[in-house]
Symmetry: C2
Subunit: 116 residues, 2 copies
DNA sequence: CCCAAATATTGGCAACCAATTATATTGCTG
DNA sequence: CAGCAATATAATTGGTTGCCAATATTTGGG
C-alpha cells in the first residue's frame, strides 16, 4: 500500500483513539454547553482529579479542546466541532446495528414458530 | 451522571475503538470499492492472514462490515456507510489542526524576527 | 473419502492504555 | 513568603490490544 496513504490511516486511527473513551466523550459532551473549569468538569463526570486531568490532556493534545488560564482556574473549551459530527454518525450506526439485530431476532423467532 | 447517558458513551467509545486501527481503516477503505474476498484484501493490505482475519472479525462484530460465504471464499462488504462520514469528519479535524499548528509556527517565527 | 485452498481460532508475548497514588507546579491571599 | 486551592505530572500496576506462529475448520475437487 502507498506509504502516504498508510500515514493518513495512522493519523486517523490516532485521532479516533483519542476519542474512544467514555470519560473523554462525557467531557466533550459537557463542554458542548460552553467552556468550563476543571473543577466543575470534575464535579460532573466524577472520578479522580488526576484522571480527569489526564483525559483533558489527551483531548488537548489531540486538538479537540483548548484551554486558557484565568488566575487559578483553567477553562477548557471545545476546539473542534467535528467531534459532534462524529458522535452523531456513530450514534446513527448504533441505531442501525440495533435495528438489524432486532430484525435478525424477529427472523429467528419466525423460524422457530414455523418449525413447531 | 445519568447511568443511561453513561451507557451511551460506553457504546460510542466501544464503536470508536473498533474503528481506531490503521489496518481496519485500510480495510474499510478498500471495501468502499465493493465487496472483496479475504485473500484479495490480504494481498492489498499486507500482514499475516491471521491478523487480517482478526481485524475483519472485529469489524464484523462491530457491524461495520458483513460477510457472505460463496463456496470456499468469503466476501466482505461495508455494512455501515456512516464510517465514511466519520473518516471525513476526522480528516477535516486533522486539516484544521494542521492549519492551527502552521499558524502557531508562523506566530512564533514572527516573534523571533521582532526580537532580532 | 482425502487433499488442498480459504478462512477462522487459539496461545503466547510485547506494547500500550487507563486508573490510582503520590508529588510537583502555579497563582492567589494574607 | 507561607499556605492554600487548582491543576498537572510522574510512577506503578492491572487489564487490553495487536501481532505472530501454529492449529483447526470449512468447502470444493479428484
Amino acid at each position: 500500500m502507498d506509504p502516504r496513504t498508510e500515514l493518513v490511516f495512522d493519523k486517523i486511527a490516532e485521532r479516533l483513539r483519542s476519542l474512544a473513551d467514555p470519560m473523554r466523550l462525557a467531557i466533550l459532551h459537557l463542554l458542548q454547553r460552553g467552556p468550563m473549569r476543571v473543577t466543575d468538569i470534575l464535579a460532573e463526570v466524577g472520578g479522580s482529579q488526576a484522571n480527569v486531568s489526564k483525559h483533558l490532556g489527551i483531548l488537548r493534545q489531540a486538538g479537540f479542546v483548548t484551554c486558557r488560564r484565568e488566575g487559578v482556574n483553567v477553562y477548557y473549551a471545545v476546539a473542534d466541532e467535528t467531534v459532534f459530527t462524529i458522535c452523531r454518525a456513530i450514534c446513527e450506526g448504533i441505531e442501525k446495528a440495533a435495528e438489524q439485530e432486532r430484525e435478525a431476532i424477529a427472523q429467528a423467532r419466525a423460524l422457530l414458530e414455523t418449525g413447531r
